[in-house]
C-alpha cells in the first residue's frame, strides 16, 4: 500500500502537455485569419476644392511643363510625343535648366508641372506618369541633400528622417514641387 501512495503523489501534477496544442490552435487561427498589410503607396496632397478654374494662360509658357496622357495611354510632353521612359530625364532637365536655355524654366522655384489626362486613360499609366514626375523631384532633392553635411551619401528619400527638418525645408524651398492637375477631358469612356 505504501508503495502505491507514493506513485499517486507523483501523478498529482496537472498535465501541461496539451497546453502546447491549445496554443498551436490559436496560433494557426491567427496565421490563417490575418494578413500582413502592405501599406505603401504614393502620397499626394490634393488641392482644396474651388469652383473657379485656374487660368493657365497667366503663366509664361517656358515655365510650364505640360504632360498630357490620352485615352490610348500615349504621352504628349510639351506638344511632343514622348516615351514614358524619357519623362524623368526631361522633367529634370526642365526643372533645373542647367544650360540656361530660353525654352525651359527660369529657375526651379518657378517651374510648374501640369498634368492632364482623359477619362479613358488607364489608372496604371496615370500612376506611372505620376511616379516618374515624383521620381524626378526625388532625384533632384537627393542631389541637393548631398551638398549638406549630413553624411557623404545621404539619400533624401530613404533617410529623410536623418536630415534635420530645417535642412529639409530649405531643400524643398529651393526646389518646390508644384504639380497642377487639370480636369480631365471626357474622351474614351
Amino acid at each position: 500500500m505504501g508503495k502505491k501512495s507514493a506513485k499517486d503523489r507523483l501523478k498529482n501534477e496537472v498535465n501541461a502537455g496539451s497546453m502546447a496544442d491549445i496554443a498551436f490552435l490559436l496560433l494557426i487561427f491567427f496565421l490563417v485569419t490575418t494578413t500582413i498589410a502592405e501599406d505603401k503607396g504614393i502620397l499626394v496632397k490634393l488641392p482644396p476644392w474651388s469652383e473657379e478654374e485656374v487660368d493657365p494662360t497667366k503663366l509664361k509658357t517656358r515655365n510650364v511643363f505640360s504632360v498630357l496622357v490620352n485615352a490610348d495611354n500615349q504621352l504628349l510632353v510639351r506638344d511632343e510625343l514622348t516615351s514614358i521612359n524619357d519623362l524623368r530625364e526631361r522633367a529634370k532637365e526642365f526643372i533645373l535648366n542647367p544650360e540656361k536655355r530660353e525654352d525651359l524654366s527660369e529657375k526651379p522655384t518657378k517651374a510648374i508641372i501640369s498634368l492632364k489626362n482623359d477619362r479613358g486613360t488607364e489608372y496604371k499609366t496615370y500612376l506611372k506618369v505620376y511616379n516618374e514626375l515624383l521620381g524626378a523631384y526625388n532625384e533632384l532633392w537627393d542631389a541637393e541633400a548631398r551638398r549638406y553635411p549630413v553624411g557623404g551619401d545621404t539619400k533624401y528619400t530613404e533617410y529623410s528622417d536623418e536630415i534635420p527638418l530645417a535642412t529639409r525645408k530649405e531643400i524643398k524651398g529651393k526646389i518646390p514641387m508644384v504639380l497642377s492637375e487639370a480636369e480631365p477631358t471626357s474622351y474614351g469612356e
Binding site: A20, T35, K40, L46, R119, K124
Partner: protein, 157 residues
C-alpha cells in the same frame, strides 16, 4: 564501472516539454501583434500597379480605404462588369463618400484628425473616369491627404 551503470539506470530519458507552451505562446503573441485583421471582405478585384517612389503609411487607425475595381466574378450577375467603388464591405457610389469619411472621422481622436489619410486601392486596369470622380468628391469633402496604394517595383525595370 558499477558506479556508472547505477546512474544510467536511475535517470529518466524523457525531455521535459513544459516549456513548449511558452515557446508557442511567444510565437502566438508575435503574430498577434504583427498582423492586422482584414476588416472588410473585398468585393472588387484590385491589383494595384507598381511604382518606385513609395512612402509608408504611418498609423493604421488613421487610414480609411477606398477600393475601385471590377466586381468579382460572383457579383457579375447583380452588379455587372463595369468598375465600381467599394466602401467598407459594400458597393457604394461616389455620393456615399462624405458619410463614409465622417463615420471614420468620429472614431479618431480630435488632435489626430488632420492626419487622416485616404488610401485609394485602385486596380491598374481601371480607367481614370471613376478615379477622377472619387478624387473630386474627396476634395469637396476636404479629405486632401490621399495615398495611391501601389506595390514596390524594382528600379531597373
Amino acid at each position: 564501472m558499477s558506479k556508472f551503470q547505477k546512474k544510467r539506470g536511475k535517470a529518466s530519458p524523457e525531455v521535459s516539454t513544459a516549456s513548449l507552451p511558452d515557446i508557442i505562446f511567444m510565437l502566438l503573441f508575435f503574430f498577434m501583434v504583427v498582423t492586422v485583421m482584414r476588416n472588410s471582405e473585398l468585393k472588387v478585384k484590385v491589383v494595384t500597379p507598381g511604382a518606385t517612389e513609395l512612402s509608408k503609411l504611418e498609423e493604421k487607425s488613421l487610414v480609411n480605404y477606398l477600393y475601385i475595381g471590377k466586381p468579382m466574378e460572383k457579383y457579375h450577375e447583380t452588379y455587372g462588369t463595369t468598375p465600381r467603388l467599394q466602401l467598407g464591405d459594400k458597393f457604394a457610389t461616389v455620393a456615399d463618400i462624405p458619410i463614409f469619411l465622417e463615420k471614420h472621422k468620429v472614431k479618431v481622436p480630435e488632435n489626430k484628425r488632420t492626419r487622416i489619410t485616404s488610401s485609394l486601392r485602385v486596380d491598374g486596369e481601371v480607367t481614370m473616369g471613376i478615379v477622377q470622380d472619387v478624387k473630386t468628391q474627396l476634395r469637396k469633402s476636404g479629405q486632401l491627404r490621399v495615398n495611391y496604394s501601389s506595390k514596390k517595383e524594382r528600379e531597373d525595370k
